[in-house]
Symmetry: C2
Subunit: 144 residues, 2 copies
DNA sequence: ATAAAAATGAGACTTAATCTCATTTATTGT
DNA sequence: ACAATAAATGAGATTAAGTCTCATTTTTAT
């Protein structure tokens, strides 16, 4: 069982109520969520300014990823050991965001290609993100 | 020589001054630009509301891509025949955005992997985007 | 237990993007 | 080419995501 206090302690940030509340919410959700939704879920538990501050704190200690949907909604997602590097699939019909893991063989090919690009552009690439856009046919909760 | 009027006509949108002005600006730039920069470049040529409207029009006819930088700046880029599908490299030091083409062999592998994911998730994937994050060492104009 | 440092809440503030509506410009049919 | 109709524009008001301020509260270190 993952412990929010332990996560905070491990990353050497002070353990406060709002941080615990936000972390537990994200741990329970375990999938991408828009900041808006998170805000309304936690409306009467943490102040808006605090929520944004805590999200920034979690980004700073590298356990939170943030990205935008094609509809320009900001989405956050916890990245812990049990939920490592992956990519996203966006449904343009219902807005659903699905976590996708690439085949290991492909991910290796990608890393090789990235090395080529590092050399070519004299760049140090620290992270990459692959986004897939389309329409789900029967998987999404919202699409029918 | 690419002609902005022809582009508009080809896509069956009416030919207006603001659209020509915005298109010519984007054609000349030929690389990703933040909406902010574009706005200040065209400040006294098109109204702000019109610029946003024209950008949306260009997105609607699928010749403009829009994405966000890690610093949450909105960036647009013209996608025409002479500047086809490609990816982006973001420098976290200077903010520079660099167009990157993947090796054909790799892009094929990616398409194959995408097909696998389509089957697995029962999804129709229409577009994909790969973003690389890192630091440039000597290429960027701004970095030294 | 206490002092110093850090985080929080509430709401003001900023700013990118959208909206409104009166006016201007483009298109279509004759 | 011209009038009638439809579409697009400009200017500024409006909205809303995200940040900032600062007095108060909570956490941490001693």
């Amino acid at each position: 069982m993952v412990n929010s206090r332990k996560i905070l302690a491990d990353h050497k940030v002070s353990i406060t109520n709002p941080r615990i509340i936000v972390l537990e919410a994200l741990l329970e959700i375990k999938s991408p969520i828009t900041v808006d939704e998170l805000l309304s879920q936690l409306r009467n538990k943490v102040a808006k300014s605090t929520l944004y501050r805590v999200l920034n704190d979690l980004k700073d200690i590298n356990i939170l990823h943030e990205f935008s949907t094609p509809a320009n909604q900001t989405v956050v997602e916890l990245i812990l050991e049990d939920h490592p590097h992956h990519h996203h699939l966006f449904c343009s019909d219902c807005g659903e965001i699905i976590d996708v893991e690439m085949a290991t063989e492909f991910e290796n090919k990608l890393l090789k290609e990235i090395k080529r690009i590092e050399r070519k552009f004299n760049f140090v690439i620290e992270d990459h993100r692959l986004e897939l856009f389309g329409k789900c046919t029967d998987l999404c909760v919202n699409c029918k």
